[in-house]
Amino acid sequence: MLSMHNIAKVYRTESIETHALREFSLFVDEGEFVSVTGPSGSGKTTFLNIAGLLEESTVGIYELDGRDVSSLNDRDRSRLRNEKIGFIFQSFNLIPDLNLFENVDVPLRYRRLSSGDRKQRVERALESVGLASRMKHLPEQLSGGQQQRVAIARALVGEPRLLLADEPTGNLDSAMADQVMKFLEQIHADGTTIVMVTHDPDLANRAERNIHLIDGRVSGEELVHSQEEVSQTVGFNGDQPLAAKI
């Protein structure tokens, strides 16, 4: 699904050069659930941005779904982002004056879909996070956990193959965090590849594999669960095709 080879990312300002990532190589298989941990400033967000085509690496080769993306133009990168990737951010990032329906609708607006089709998808996505009844509400009328569920619905509405989450539970209390985690586990069980950045070791351990970053490099990697175990934790019944092994 995602293959990075010798990626480096350097931020240059007038006075300093920051090496956010260096000699960074990582392979994430289709259907995997990977957690990324590491101290602040270790390059987790930078990695996620590059993975999500939000930024370009300074050097290195990045293949998304078998395709080298380094030479793509803005239009193609935008289309890949729109079609293949879903994002969940720490601070939800809902548009305050759009209601829930309109917020979830945003990614679909950048595809050619009929309005009936869009409506159906948005409603299904909101249903899956249990907020279908509040479609007309504005984000500020919801709790933090509910807002993050809307953000999850928005990330899922386009049926992405890869879900990138940057501290999705960072602004939530543990009960809400657990709820959000359950959704992610469900999504993973349905076959979506997930890469999640987190500070919380307990949450990191709920993924299949944990990657630890220090100073822009992968410093350690550990298999946390087998796929079966992860599936069992969310009551996955095993009749759906599982993603390829690690």
Partner: protein, 438 residues
């Protein structure tokens, strides 16, 4: 996508009403002022009689001082009016398809009933062809016959306004009016007629109301009518009687001829030359032959009906529009800061730069459209102000459809141009800004 962008624009405008108000106001003021001057300019520049402007000609003959041209700055030009008796002779020969001579005068109208008071009214002293030549619309009756010109019969054609005043707007054809002790027969009442500019008399003002009535040219001699318009003379002549005045070299009559083909035009110039040659033999017209005809638009140019001030004003007002647009750009750039997070989010969710750019351009077009609409109302007010200031007849300067579409078009296009740079800035916002600002 357009509908979505439109919806987003309205949301974005509502999000910051004060900023939106300022942007719309800046464009509205710029459009209001530039449209006011543009309308005035456009009206001054308009063709007052498009259907006939190339077959109607003003005639000039050079009877001026042998040692000095009529206009020192333009020595090639003959005087722009002719003498009374030259006009009278040319009318009598009648070489064109139609021809008319005219000047402005004024007469006292005696009351029709016992209650009214006598009052003075402006008159255009002219000949029968005037009405047909210039496509004058009639409500009642018509102009007088050529026979009335020949016999100097007192007849009168009233404007709508004067007919309203005298006869309460009724069909007054066949009624009588007493002026200067003479009874005039009303032969017709004309409808509202506002050729702009007033092409047949730019000399006495291109933007004035037309005279209140029309009477036959041949009455000049009978009633000893004098011109209320401008006259010019160069020769010191001893004038002891009205007849001597009419036969003097003073020029105060405007002369027009209708000629349909190039051939008729050539023939007419030959005829004018022959006439002047004949007069030269009588000792007049001591300057070299210099007879000209000017069609309507040439005649407007000749008299510089579009004043230079109007052109300068037009330029200034468009500069002002530019200033307004520059402040709109500044406001847009300020607003840009508040857009960062939404735009980078939209970028992350799959909007390409081009899509974001289009979204911004639709937004500025909506702002331009709103500014244009308000600007139009300001222009309407401005034009009323101009009418009031310059005492122009009501309705002389008004916005027509062309001007309205022009105004809205200019507003939209210019605000889109103004929006280009801010929109470009907005679409440069990187999608990643979203994740990093946490």
């Amino acid at each position: 996508m357009f509908n979505y962008n439109l919806k987003l624009s309205l949301k974005s405008m509502r999000r910051n009403p004060i900023m939106t108000g300022l942007m719309v106001a800046a464009i509205a003021v710029g459009i209001g002022i530039s449209m006011t001057t543009l309308t005035v300019y456009y009206m001054m520049n308009g063709n007052p009689i498009p259907e006939k402007s190339d077959v109607l000609f003003a005639v000039t003959l050079d009877n001026w001082n042998p040692i000095r041209p009529f206009d020192d700055d333009r020595p090639e030009r003959a005087p722009h009016q002719v003498t009374f008796h030259d006009a009278e002779r040319l009318l009598a020969i009648g070489k064109g398809k139609r021809q008319t001579a005219m000047f402005e005068s004024s007469l006292i109208i005696e009351p029709i009933d016992d209650e009214g008071l006598p009052f003075e009214a402006g008159a255009r002293v002219t000949s029968a062809d005037f009405f047909v030549m210039f496509n004058v619309p009639f409500i009642y009756g018509s102009g007088w016959d050529k026979s009335a010109d020949a016999a100097a019969e007192p007849m009168v054609v009233l404007t709508k306004g004067l007919n309203e005043r005298l006869f309460g707007g009724e069909d007054s054809v066949g009624n009588w009016l007493t002026m200067q002790g003479t009874r005039f027969l009303v032969t017709g009442v004309i409808d509202t007629w506002e050729p702009t500019p007033r092409f047949f008399d730019p000399i006495n003002g291109g933007f004035q109301e037309i005279n209140e009535m029309f009477i036959p040219y041949s009455l000049t001699r009978v009633l000893e009518l004098t011109s209320a318009g401008s006259d010019w003379g160069w020769k010191s002549e001893e004038i002891n009687s009205f007849e001597e005045w009419l036969n003097s070299e003073a020029v105060w009559v405007q002369y027009f001829v209708e000629l349909e083909s190039t051939r008729e035009r050539d023939d007419y110039l030959v005829h004018l030359d022959a006439y002047v040659e004949e007069q030269k033999r009588l000792g007049r017209f001591e300057r070299p032959l210099n007879n000209n005809i000017y069609d309507v638009m040439e005649w407007m140019d000749y008299h510089e009906v579009v004043a230079n001030d109007a052109k300068i004003l037009l330029g200034l007002s468009f500069l002002f529009l530019v200033v307004c647009l520059l402040s709109t750009i500044a406001l847009m750039l300020t607003k840009f800061v508040g857009k960062k997070s939404e735009i980078s989010l939209r970028r992350a969710l799959g909007a390409s730069r081009k899509v974001i750019f289009n979204q911004q351009i639709v937004e500025v077009a909506v702002i331009g459209f709103s500014g244009g609409l308000i600007g139009l109302s300001l222009a309407a007010l401005g034009l009323q102000g101009i009418e009031y200031l310059y005492d122009a007849p009501a309705g002389l300067v008004k916005l027509d459809w062309v001007m309205m579409f022009t105004a809205i078009g200019i507003a939209i296009v210019s605000s889109m141009i103004a929006g280009l740079y801010p929109a470009w800035r907005v679409c440069q916002i990187p999608p990643a800004a979203q994740l990093k600002t946490q």
